[in-house]
């Protein structure tokens, strides 16, 4: 969920009202935002740069969490009008595009650029007036869009330029890095694209974007008719065309691998900042010519009409409202709505609301405007008969019996290190059908456990201070690779118990096995046949020589028990003998 920082006083000025923190928090809550933190600018500088740099005045900053699909709220210029509309204070603005007959801007795409970053969209904001704050907000919004909808500039990358410093028509090309040469933003000399990549290799922010084009034989580049480089997307703009506080005419270009997202980003920027243009809410279109001579005009700023059935909508939410009332509710969510006959509503979805892709999104807006907490509580009328999942039911019954037998339940992690199930238990990793994790952040999460033993032994190790004996158990899932399963792996419910004392106590763990099988009504097979269960001596490196047995139940091996090998004991940092039992319980279902 993205968080934006807004100066409180500026926000309240835009809202034309001063709120207390709590009042504003409540407003946010109702609208689906969250006032995450109230801080000051001075503190923020300290937090982020870890320096004791301080500004002259310390302004109060609101950190506000914005839902991930509401790009239109990522800056004050979008947030404030949305709240004002929600509060019924202003009308919904109408965004228009103009396409000048002369002096129109044009970007021509080459075959080359399609190979690496195949789309570009653009728009011009004419006669804009920035203040220090709105200028900063303009820069911030681009950064927010890069991070969120742009997936760290991999999907889209935005460049904004002072149109009066460059000369169209523009060219969107891609060339070998050594053939691109310009002065990057805020640098004092010119570099080749290759040099720029080296320059930013250790740059705190920019280095994370280098990989997007680094290994490509050609790098995308936007330049004007005189060969002045505007940008090297998605890395950096040129210094020549950089915008300043006094810039009047802005060219916004957005290169992308995902055209839908590029259009959304462009719409979002121009909708938010066209309010500072001389002719408010008006944006000048740019012509894009694809290599195949197809021509498109951007920004879209498309208004879409959706028709919904009012009764269906109110029934979906569970409220009683007339069509007019619903229309009013929707209008408060920036969705201009008119009532048609037969209870139908015509809803105009504006270019700020790209999150609305289905009628259910409109239903949600009705519910938000109505107020979630005013909706009548009802209980659905369906009759269903409950049923436990048989494996969980059996597990719970066994857990209670194990506790009755005097054992204490542990709850350990499903993930562990390779060492835990292999080396430490004296086993070979190659022989273990384990599920391996490709991106663990620590050694603790290398694989999914294939046995419950390490978890119990670690629990013992962490509780040495408790008086002996230790009697622990866990009934939980292990995970095994299995090619017969659709996913290639399956869970297996195991029961594991350990007895730890100054002596090995094998007979106690054995007694526990007998008890468990007794209550599962499995008889002891004294002549070792398939009519019950019996033990079969086996050698296993986890266990002490000649102190380990396989447990056979109706002829099938269901697990092992034995006295833990002293090497295993010490590898788990224990110093007392342990006997252990581990069986599969799925066979008892």
């Amino acid at each position: 969920m993205p968080t934006i920082n807004v100066k409180r006083d500026l926000l309240f000025k835009s809202l034309d009202k001063t709120y207390s923190d709590t009042e504003f928090q409540n407003l946010c809550f109702d609208f689906g935002l969250e006032l995450d933190e109230v801080t000051t600018e001075k503190q923020m500088v300290t937090n982020e740069q870890n320096l004791n740099y301080s500004t002259e005045i310390s302004e109060v900053i609101y950190k506000i969490d914005i839902p991930a699909n509401r790009y239109d709220l990522l800056c004050l210029e979008g947030l404030a009008p949305a709240l004002l509309i929600f509060l019924n204070q202003i009308d919904i603005p109408r965004y228009t595009t103009i396409f000048p007959s002369v002096n129109r801007q044009k970007i021509i795409m080459t075959e080359q650029c399609v190979k690496i970053r195949g789309h570009i969209v653009a728009a011009v904001l004419r006669d804009i007036t920035f203040t220090k704050d709105s200028y900063n907000s303009f820069i911030d919004l681009q950064e927010k869009l890069h991070q969120n909808i742009g997936r760290k500039r991999s999907l889209i990358s935005i460049g904004t330029h002072d149109l009066d410093t460059v000369q169209g028509p523009f060219l969107y090309d891609a060339r070998p890095p050594t053939n691109i040469y310009f002065k990057p933003l805020n640098q004092d000399k010119e570099y080749t694209a290759e040099g720029i990549m080296n320059l930013y290799n250790n740059h705190a922010q920019l280095k994370q974007y280098l990989h997007i084009i680094k290994d490509s034989p050609v790098y995308p580049v936007v330049e004007d008719s005189n060969g002045v480089v505007l940008s090297l997307p998605p890395i950096i703009n040129g210094d020549h065309s950089k915008i300043t506080l006094s810039t009047k005419n802005i060219l916004i270009e957005c290169t992308a691998t995902d055209l839908t997202k590029a259009k959304i980003a462009l719409d979002t920027i121009v909708c938010a900042f066209s309010q500072y243009c001389k002719i408010k809410y008006t944006v000048e279109m740019v012509e894009i010519v694809y290599p195949d001579k197809q021509v498109f005009h951007y920004p879209d700023l498309k208004y879409r009409i959706e028709e919904i059935d009012c009764e269906k909508a109110t029934k979906y939410i569970g409220i009683k409202q007339t069509a007019e009332e619903v229309a009013n509710l929707l209008s408060r969510m920036s969705l201009k709505t008119s009532v048609k006959d037969n209870n139908k509503l015509n809803i105009e979805v504006p270019p700020t609301r790209h999150d609305v892709i289905h009628t259910c999104d409109i239903y949600e807006d009705i519910a938000i405007a109505y107020g979630y907490n005013k909706i009548q509580k009802t209980i659905p009328y369906l009759s269903t008969i409950a049923e436990e999942f048989s494996l969980n039911k059996l597990s719970d019954q066994l857990r209670i019996e194990l506790a009755c037998a005097g054992f204490t339940e542990a709850l350990t992690f499903s993930l562990c290190s390779r060492e835990d199930v292999a080396d430490k238990l004296g086993q070979e990793l190659l022989n273990i059908p384990a599920v391996h994790i490709s991106n663990p952040k620590t050694l603790e999460f290398q694989i999914a456990r294939t046995t419950l033993i390490p978890g119990l032994l670690k629990t013992l190790a962490a509780n040495k201070k408790m008086p002996l004996p230790h009697k622990l158990f866990e009934v939980s899932d292990i995970i095994l690779k299995d090619d017969n399963i659709e996913i290639g792996a399956r869970n297996n419910r195991h029961l594991c118990a350990v007895y730890c004392n100054t002596f090995d106590g094998f007979e106690i763990i054995h007694g526990l096995l007998d008890r468990m099988l007794q209550i599962l009504e499995i008889p002891w097979s004294s002549n070792k046949n398939k009519n019950g269960y019996y033990l079969r001596a086996v050698d296993d490196p986890t266990f002490f020589p000649h102190r380990c047995a396989e447990i056979l139940c109706y002829g099938k091996m269901i697990g092992k028990m034995g006295v833990l090998h002293p090497d295993v004991v010490s590898r788990f940092e224990l110093n007392t003998p342990c006997s252990i039992l581990e069986i599969d319980i799925e066979c008892f279902l």
């Binding site: 969920m1 109702d30 689906g32 997936r151 999907l155 995902d258 839908t260 939410i317 569970g318 892709i357 289905h358 259910c360 999104d361 519910a367 938000i368 979630y372 509580k377 009802t378 659905p380 009759s383 269903t384 008969i385 409950a386 049923e387 436990e388 999942f389 494996l391 969980n392 719970d396 506790a403 005097g406 054992f407 204490t408 339940e409 542990a410 709850l411 350990t412 992690f413 499903s414 993930l415 391996h436 991106n439 663990p440 952040k441 999460f445 999914a448 978890g455 670690k458 509780n463 040495k464 201070k465 899932d477 690779k481 659709e486 996913i487 290639g488 792996a489 399956r490 869970n491 419910r493």
Partner: protein, 689 residues
């Protein structure tokens, strides 16, 4: 033995009316501790004797002092060693014990002079005879003035010791013949009817009963059982969630979660290297999912991007149990016809998140799903109220939220009576048509669902601040042992608050004032302490001690290595790593300086006082805590006998530290001192480490 002793004591008391335990120890030639034990057992008999605890201070010769008392002072020894014509200074230094001290003292007293005229310093007598006042004084300690006592104390010739003993007197029911009282009703006593004539020892109802050896269920799973019951009571069928490994297709794509969604990043999700891919999807359904993502359909614009099957094939550890809900709804429709269902599950999910006090890489998700024709958002809200009512939560609030697979989406907040605030407890919503319609659910079927973690409500309920105290191998089994039964709809006062030292203290003090006259200080006095300690003999108990008291006082420890130390073992670098948070509010500010000084650490207090030896440091720290929180670690606040016994154990530990002769201390029950933990337990535990 003790029985005989008790009778001897009674006889003696009968003859002497009043006597003290020290005296008895001399008379009977018995260890004082044994006498105290016998007196304790006599005390249990009603009004047989009266006792009074007495603490006395006494001056006593040190071993050096004893030497002086018997053989004369060091200065006299020096004087007497000098022949009339004097002798070289170096010779004296070698021939007389304690010559260095004796020499300077003798010089000071002008008994001797040094003659340097011949080149080598020759020492000669200055006076013809001397009186050894020091020896005289030490032979008669009683008549010394305080000034002299301090003087000799400084010279380490005498020391002040604290003696604790008991003054005995006859009680109203005094008698020398104690009838043997039965402690237990036995089968024998019943069989022959002897119980009728026997006298039974009264029970001490103020003591706790014996600790039973029992098994326990894990606290989190007890809460899980309660949640399962609630769902079952409400008619929900349990989903089979025993598949931790899931394909991205079911975990994300089927839920209309776009392939560029940040949750599908390696930063948030565990991807599987082996088995890395799933290829076996229901093809017809997969095509529908692909279409709704890339082109839309079912009334949706879709996300309009290039949907790739490779991305869907990637196996992951499931990030939510909703993957199973998706499979369940799909399977439901595979049976041919829709029927209304209620499903639930509580099982593990995995996130490759940064870990902190409240986040682990795996946790339990609770999920409820209801599918029926024409369900409404109001139905979801009503169902949630019913569900949370069973948890004892009656006030809910819903906040609009965003979730790729639900619309409308609501975050659930509940008002916590104990914490007196609104807390976020879960998420909920109605599944999007883009998720449901490709599965073949009828258009007028709506599905409401909600999810929450099992750990969070459990931590709030039990007042835990760190999730590792609850889940995983580091869990404290003592917490498991003492965990109450789980009654979710009951808000008990002591469970609902997060532990706050202040609250705790108030509660403790209230208790204290009722049961004990021991005066506890209102406020913990801030302490600034320095301990010099040999890295070869680390003062290990400090770590355990601080751990034990950390809920009551804030402790900050820094450590330095003295320049003379060549090598400090690695494990000492993390010494007291629990107490590394510097804070204005630290109650104890301890600096440890590793320096080669031998077995006994030296603690420096403000004003240049020092305390030497591990057990004395322990005693000092114990007093500090006890002064403010007497119940945390009992020592002197109970009574003199109790303290005396602890002192004896401490002595044994001291000897053990110095000689390695085993201390032979045994636990009476839970702890060395019985039911209460004491500094002795902490020291013993540190010795075992």
């Amino acid at each position: 033995m003790a029985k005989q002793l008790t009778e001897q004591i009674l006889d003696y008391l009968n003859k002497h009316e009043e006597v003290n335990s020290l005296h008895l120890s001399e008379v009977f030639k018995e260890n004082h501790q044994k006498i105290i034990g016998a007196i304790k057992s006599l005390e249990t008999l009603d009004d047989l004797i009266t006792t009074k605890q007495i603490t006395d201070k006494k001056w006593e010769l040190t071993s050096e002092g004893q030497h002086v008392a018997s053989y004369g002072s060091h200065e006299a020894a020096v004087y007497n060693a000098i022949p009339d014509d004097g002798m070289p200074q170096s010779e004296i230094m070698q021939s007389v014990p304690f010559a260095k001290v004796g020499f300077s003292k003798a010089l000071q007293a002008s008994w001797i002079v040094i003659d340097k005229s011949s080149g080598t310093p020759i020492v000669k007598k200055k006076v013809s005879s001397i009186t050894d006042i020091t020896q005289k004084d030490l032979k008669d300690l009683a008549s010394l003035t305080d000034r002299l006592k301090n003087e000799y104390k400084k010279r380490k010739l005498i020391q002040e010791i604290v003696i604790k003993f008991v003054q005995l007197g006859k009680g109203p029911n005094f008698t020398t013949t104690i009838e043997k009282q039965e402690t237990e009703l036995t089968a024998d006593l019943l069989a022959n009817g002897a119980w009728k004539d026997k006298k039974f020892k009264p029970y001490n109802f103020d003591a706790l009963g014996a600790t039973l050896e029992v098994g326990h269920l894990h606290p989190l799973l007890k809460v899980r059982s309660e949640f399962r019951k609630i769902f079952l009571e409400m008619g929900f069928t349990e989903m089979p969630t025993n598949n931790f490994v899931e394909s991205s297709f079911w975990n994300f794509d089927a839920l209309f979660q776009p392939q560029q969604h940040p949750a599908r990043d390696a930063h948030d999700t565990f991807f599987i290297a082996e088995p890395s891919r799933s290829t076996n999807f229901p093809m017809e359904y997969m095509e529908k999912v692909k279409r709704v993502h890339s082109e839309g359909g079912y009334g949706s614009l879709g996300y309009r991007y290039d949907w790739k099957i490779e991305e869907a094939q990637k196996n992951v550890l499931r990030t939510h149990t909703t993957a199973v809900s998706a499979r369940m709804l799909y399977n439901l429709m595979q049976q041919g016809e829709f029927k209304p269902v209620r499903y639930f599950s509580i099982d593990r999910v995995f996130r490759n998140e940064t870990l902190d006090a409240t986040h682990l890489a795996e946790f339990h998700q609770i999920e409820g799903v209801v599918a029926d024709y024409n369900l409404t958002l109001g139905d979801l809200i009503g169902t949630l109220y019913e569900f949370f009512k069973k948890l004892g939560i009656t006030q809910l609030k819903f906040k609009p939220a965003y979730n790729p697979y639900t619309e409308p989406s609501m975050e659930i907040f509940c008002y916590h009576e104990g914490l007196k605030k609104w807390i976020e407890i879960g998420n909920s919503g109605m599944f999007r048509p883009e998720m449901l319609l490709p599965m073949g659910l009828p258009e007028d079927v709506n599905v409401i669902a909600w999810g929450l973690s099992l750990e969070r409500p459990t931590m709030i309920k039990y007042g835990l601040n760190n999730i590792r105290d609850l889940v995983g191998p580091k869990v404290d089994l003592e917490m498991v042992y003492n965990n109450p039964i789980c009654r979710l709809n009951k808000t008990s006062q002591n469970s609902s608050q997060t532990k706050k030292a202040e609250d705790k203290k108030q509660e403790l003090n209230k208790h204290e004032n009722k049961s004990c006259t021991f005066k506890c200080a209102e406020k913990f006095e801030k302490q600034k302490l320095i301990i010099f300690c040999d890295p070869k003999h680390p003062i290990k108990f400090i770590e355990l001690f601080f751990h034990h008291v950390k809920n009551y006082v804030n402790i900050f420890v820094t450590s330095y290595v003295h320049s003379s130390v060549q090598h400090v073992p690695n494990y000492l670098l993390n010494f007291c790593s629990e107490c590394r948070n510097e804070d204005q509010a630290n109650d104890i500010n301890l600096t440890i300086i590793w320096k080669e000084i031998g077995i006994d650490p030296i603690m420096q207090l403000p004003g240049m006082y020092t305390i030497t030896g591990e057990i004395n440091v322990a005693r000092y720290l114990n007093r500090l805590i006890e002064n403010c929180y007497p119940r945390v670690l009992r020592y002197e606040s109970k009574d003199a006998l109790y303290a005396n016994e602890i002192d004896n154990y401490l002595e044994k530990i001291h000897i053990f530290l110095h000689t390695n002769v085993h201390h032979a201390i045994h636990k009476k029950s839970h702890y060395v001192m019985g039911e209460d933990i004491s500094i002795v337990d902490i020291l013993l535990e540190s010795l075992e480490k």
